[in-house]
Amino acid sequence: MPNITYPAMAIRPRLPNAWDFIAAAAVLGALMGVAPAVRGTFAPLTTAGLAAVHLDPAALPYYAVRTTLRMFAALVCSILFTLGYGTLAAKSRRAEVILVPLLDILQSVPILGFLSFTVVFFVNLFPGRVLGLEFAAIFAIFTSQAWNMTFSFYQSLTTVPPDLDEAARSFRLSAWQRFWRLEVPFAMPGLVWNTMLSMSGAWFFVVASEAITVGSHTWTLPGIGSFVALALAHRNLAAVGWAIAAMLVVILIYDQVLFRPLVAWADKFRVETTAVVPVPEPWVLALLRRTRLLRLGSRTIGAVLAGLGGLRLAPRQSRAPISRTPSRTADRLWLVIVALIVAVALWRIFLFISAGLTLAAFGETLIDGCFSLLRVLAAVAISILVWLPIGVWMGLRPRVARLAQPAAQFLAAFPANLLFPLIVILIVRYRLDPNIWLTPLMLIGTQWYVLFNVIAGAAAFPGDLREAAANFRVRGVLWWRRVILPGILPYLVTGAITAMGNAWNTTIVAEVASWGQTTLVARGLGAYIAEATNDGNTAHIVLGIAVMSGFVVILNRLLWRPLYEFARRRAAPI
């Protein structure tokens, strides 16, 4: 299994410290800083950029291309952001103390929640043009992709093997050469794997961000997401079916043509020099490597890129950096600046809360949060109950695992919100209680993360341990309790964490679902945020987001990280 950096695990387990609170305050303060601007500029935006979307299956390929382009535009932004932010955080001690906790908080914030702010902001940046909407959508996708990629890159930069670092220094590579010859290649496997995970998650957001309603205004962009939104409003089940089919094709192509080859290619950057279990070469990579013309093309591009990386752009590091003593005064100055920013953010939060929110409202959202938490936990628990036995069964059979694991990854990439209508129809038809029956919506997207991690864990389970267990005739409950569960625990926890993060984001879409005129609402924080967005009530949106982020951060810190550390320690090979 590729070395995965799950965002929640990327830094050492620790209890929340002062920097986390500072980062949280800064993020919330910034949100509230944007809020008045949003409210103030609300009026002039009456009918800006309402692109017409038709429910014609023939138009779907065009919409699919638009959606995919948006996705890749965001990916380019994410990569640039990753290289910049990750490098800054890893290289500058002063930047690190603020950038890393900030990242940690940012990736815990439910992105869908502040979609409404960003849409209005970007539309105002380009008044009367679709470009603004496009930027808003791209930004939304970017915010769903960037954080774990950045975390992975940052972590790689801080764990460059010391001998390679010494070799690079003793051969006097310039900073630019060092970046492209040592740091980026070393970070590549983790970065590619996280990019794949990000992209999988992002299909969900690209679909959600194409049709946005803030207050009484609805903005749509031509794409599969807006196509589905329109189909829902028109109760056109056939159109929903067409959209799902189109999405399946798009993801299949993206999976086969881009990511399988990319993951296989990134394997050459792995530092472990021991041979790993060979995986079959993806057909696209084989095509690229074996076809003469394509190979020539990729070689040429590769040579140009290598040449760029080899340029001696930056000055060499002349001094040995170990002995550099940090300047105390500069440190203090830096702390003062940070403290000032935090003070301003806190002041804003105080003003905001004292202006529009009561303690009772806060209490309400906490209770809503508990409802959502129950739903999220239920979704994860059901995923584990269902997929753990199946995943173990599959993982222990190499031939099944080889087929099943890519399939599960593929399914995880499929935006679950496209499937929501099917369940909503059932709920409406059988008059089921939305408080309970909207939960399966969260299950649709999250279960695959549990499945593919369990398969990976079971597939990596050492053969000799299996034989030993069989030899001592360990079977049944004892086998599960003593052998396989502890063996795959790190993978299971990883899967559960990813699933949980996904489920929190899904609550915003899943707790309010509509089919034509019928709207189903389940009580919960997601519904609270969705309704506040619909009402254009910024104070409630910010409160909802803050409470949800709080839930996510606290769960990560108090439950998942310690559990993951425990699992990792215990399952570490002797």
Partner: protein
Amino acid sequence: MDMMLAGGPLLEVQACRKAYRTDAATELLVLDRVDLRITAGEIVGLLGRSGSGKSTLLRVVAGLLSPSGGEVRWRGAPLVGPAEGIAMVFQSFALFPWLTVRENVGLGLEAQGLPPAERAERTESAIDLIGLGGYEGAYPKELSGGMRQRVGLARALVVHPDLLLMDEPFSALDVLTAETLRTDLIDLWSEKRLPVKSMLMVTHNIEEAVLMCDRILVFSANPGRIASELRVPFPHPRNRLDKPFRQMVDDIYAVMTRRAQPTGRHIAAPAPAFGTALHPVSTNLLAGLTETLAQPPYDGRADLPALATALQLEADELLPLGEALALLRLAEVEEGDIRLTDAGRRFAAADTDTRKAMFAAALKAHVPLAAAIRQVLEERWNHRASAERFRDELEDHMSPEYAHDTLHTVISWGRYAELYAYDEEADQFSLEEPA
């Protein structure tokens, strides 16, 4: 080709000091008052036990670490950072796994900004010189360990360094491969085909040092100092079985065992303090060594170099074993010999339970750290104590890695002796075995 600079030394290190700050108050001295001069045309070896600072000195010379005191001059000018004309070969090879052999070798030239054509030519000739022809397009993970280190050598030689630094270059290789590489390198050196003026190598293998070097500097540990300097008068190629060669190896063993106790002839009474670093030595190895020594042909006494050869251990592995036995008063080490004490003979003959009891008694009497842990546990009402406090206390006396090793050792010895139990999850010592 290499006597042009015969007038002045290539490298001059004077009164070099290197200390690490452990916390605000204490400083950990790794290198102390080290002088070193390297002139063109010689191979100099830094020989010493692990942790004696020899690798630190090499990294100071490489410009990878800057000294805390003293002066390093390279070609007459103060050394600042990695300098032109110094290239290094790493113990772990340090090859970039994503670059091919050709790209790895060409890396240093690329950093110098050489035009591609010249780069290709020099890379090719370095690859051919070191016997890597045909492997140009391979990735490091496709190569065996020996081939990987050849890439490491070619990568260093391609920049035509005046001084080639080697950090235990053959210690990660198996015996046969290491020997081939050594002789290949020495042959190239003798034929003056290496584009270098001098070599400085770190090793803990005594025979390797005598086989390759013209001058050997023996390091003593804590803090690292040059204990003695020996000239190797034999011409290349050298024969390991020659009598003078064996004699020199024996002499160096004697120097290295004598060093641990500079005041007397015996190592038997090092008067260990709480903060004495313990090498992580397994109790199985200790027991096995006493049994071997008690039996013929040794009958309680052995010559360390001969014993090392018979047991296929390197000096670096055997000496800590001997020292641990000496610490526990199970053996005495003197002038390159090891001799079982009466207690050692009884220990070798005893059954498991008796051995454990003897070991426990020896720990309490001669390892103050183990005795202190036991005493604290007995005094506590719940018979538990956090390992953290002992770790902290140790770190006042030694580097964090040493503290970690020492604590690890005292845990494993204490477990064997059943003096106390240790719970890793809670990082706690206790008197009873945790359920």
